[in-house]
């Protein structure tokens, strides 16, 4: 679409938007803290109350939103590319639920092993994505079948999550609104070690982006170009699982970021080439979730909505629009 502008310009513009959203995320909330006031406080000695709010509440929140948004967006772009299905996203095909189940299991049975949660979530996400992929492959499934398979697996995993939370009611006490997803109440320590997983996952995704493009040409073409298709595909899906797992481990089951942001990124990139799309996803995903979080805490101030709900209000209509549009495209073809 706008192929003419070089990628670097697009990356810079999107980074600018991210920066603005971060600033807004720090200043906005139940009480507005102006940047000038904050700057003066930072320069002065001691911690002012506003500084405390920013340091202990808002900054961790913004960081969590950026990390979760980037991770889920890149994860979604990878999954869509590997499955060759623009409707596939971590929440739709059950990857988030898989991560969620393992998060809940880990919390229920190893309550002291908080640091292990991202790793546990990774295994859950990986199991979910591989089973959807396996079923799709076995049945030669069409786009819709993949989505429906994912919905099925998702429901099953959600039932399992509910079972655990019914049997162990105090499991989710530490994670606010886990099932809708959100970043309120996140503190810096709860982002560790998830942030390392996310940085590693995004780095791996960038390193694989060229191969992912070749893989997207079709597995036979990729194979005839000398690629070890099985290994690369597994590496890509594993990276997607690391990212989704780490995001879910501290932000819960936020949906639709992995669906909406890759589509926006492809529009901005003007192509589906992952070498351009993945970096844009990482930046836009962070900005998108940060902005949604600002809306979550200001729309009905002083009441606060869970972030997941705001995302759903944006994501679900978008998903439906994609469904309808795809159908039209097919009829016209």
């Amino acid at each position: 679409m706008e192929k003419s502008r070089p990628l670097i310009v697009k990356v810079l513009v999107c980074s600018g938007i991210l920066l603005v959203s971060v600033l807004l995320g720090i200043c906005a909330g139940s009480a507005w803290i102006s940047p000038q006031k904050l700057l003066a406080d930072v320069l002065a000695d001691g911690l002012s109350p506003d500084e405390r709010i920013v340091l202990y509440i808002r900054l961790p929140r913004v960081l969590a939103a950026i990390l979760a948004g980037s991770a889920l967006a890149v994860s979604g772009a990878i999954i869509q590319s590997v499955l060759g299905n623009p409707l596939a996203a971590p929440n739709i095909i059950g990857v988030n639920s898989g991560a969620g189940l393992f998060t809940v299991l880990c919390t229920a049975f190893f309550p002291s092993a908080v640091r292990l949660i991202p790793a546990a979530a990774f295994w859950g996400a990986l199991a979910a994505v591989l089973s959807v992929y396996g079923i799709a492959r076995k049945t030669g499934a069409s786009r819709m079948t993949i989505v429906l398979t994912g919905v099925g697996i998702s429901s099953l995993l959600n039932a399992a999550i509910d079972t655990i939370t019914t049997l162990y009611p105090d499991v989710l006490a530490g994670i606010s609104s886990f099932k809708t997803g959100g970043v309120s109440g996140v503190n810096i320590s709860s982002l560790f070690p998830a942030w390392i997983f996310i940085i590693a996952g995004i780095t791996a995704a960038f390193m694989l982006s060229h191969d992912l493009d070749v893989l997207a040409l079709g597995e036979n073409t990729a194979g005839s170009l000398g690629m070890n298709v099985g290994a690369i595909r597994f590496a890509c899906l594993a990276a997607a699982a690391v990212l989704a797992g780490a995001a879910v481990s501290f932000s819960g089951l936020i949906g639709f970021v992995g669906l909406v942001v890759p589509h926006i990124s492809r529009k901005i990139a003007g192509s589906s080439e992952n070498t351009a799309v993945l970096p844009l996803c990482a930046i836009i995903g962070g900005a998108f979730l940060t902005i949604c979080d600002i809306l979550a805490r200001t729309l009905f101030s002083p009441y606060e909505m869970p972030l997941g709900i705001v995302v759903s209000y944006i994501g679900v209509p978008f998903f439906l629009w994609l469904l309808i549009r795809k159908k039209e495209a097919r009829h016209n073809a």
């Binding site: 036979n220 005839s224 170009l225 589906s272």
Partner: protein
């Protein structure tokens, strides 16, 4: 040169190709024809090393394709699968993917790679649309771009699976002429074809397949004289002096 020695193979336990031997010489275009489901595409996948033979061997330049590392095999033999939705990707990017076997890590193109890509694009007549997106192009243009990708791969052997499918007649001729041109580069070209008239008009050799076996492998003239076409398709070939082409009529 591509040589098949008593090749059998298929998918999982299902054998599609049984005991097939053939030699595809350098600088010749061979069209593989046969009724639907006779194993033409499977044969091509076996040749490309995408599926393994259960017995026999596919030899490229005298070496067993499965014994060569995948990456090196991809420098000797290229394979173009049937047309499918190309996605939103630029012509130059797609053709550049033909250089994948030559890229080390990180995947950076050298000047040689870029030169090969430009050369392939001008050979296929798509240099002037190199900045366009694939999904904006006509079927014929898309197919020429895909052939340019295979050319950029710079292999001695080129395998094409139904390169004319979904194309309007004008583009069929255009693409077929491009395929015929590949011979002059000294390539061994093997194409699975549905269009008998074009296959007979442009090929050096015709391979007729039926039920996973090769029933004839000869020049178009000799195939037209034999009775394998009748057995495979229920048609006879007739040569029209005026058009300089073969036509096919239902056998009585």
């Amino acid at each position: 040169m591509l040589e098949l020695k008593n090749v059998s193979g298929g998918y999982g336990k299902r054998t599609v190709i049984s005991d097939l031997s053939a030699i595809f010489p350098k600088g010749e275009l061979t069209s593989v024809i046969g009724p639907n489901g006779c194993g033409k595409s499977t044969l091509l996948m076996l040749c490309a090393g995408l599926i393994s033979c259960t017995s026999g061997a596919v030899l490229v330049g005298g070496k067993d394709i499965l014994a060569i590392p995948r990456n090196d095999a991809a420098k000797q033999i290229s394979y173009l699968e049937q047309m499918k939705n190309p996605g939103s990707i630029s012509v130059r990017t797609l053709v550049s993917h033909g250089r994948f076997p030559y890229l080390g890590y990180p995947r950076r193109y050298t000047d040689l790679d870029r030169a090969k890509v430009e050369e392939a694009m001008s050979m296929a007549g798509v240099a002037d649309i190199s900045d366009r997106m694939m999904n904006e192009l006509s079927g014929g243009q898309q197919q020429r771009v895909r052939i340019a990708m295979v050319l950029a791969q710079d292999t001695d052997v080129i395998l094409l699976d139904e390169p004319l499918t979904y194309l309007d007649v004008r583009y069929k001729l255009e693409v077929m002429e491009l395929i015929a041109k590949l011979r002059s580069l000294g390539k061994t070209v093997v194409a699975v074809m549905h269009d008998l008239e074009l296959a007979f008009a442009y090929s050096d050799k015709i391979a007729v397949m039926e039920n996973g076996r090769l029933t004839a492998f000869d020049s178009p003239e000799n195939i037209a004289l034999g009775d394998t076409l009748k057995s495979a398709f229920g048609v006879n070939a007739e040569y029209c002096e005026y058009a300089g082409r073969y036509f096919f009529k239902r056998a009585e």
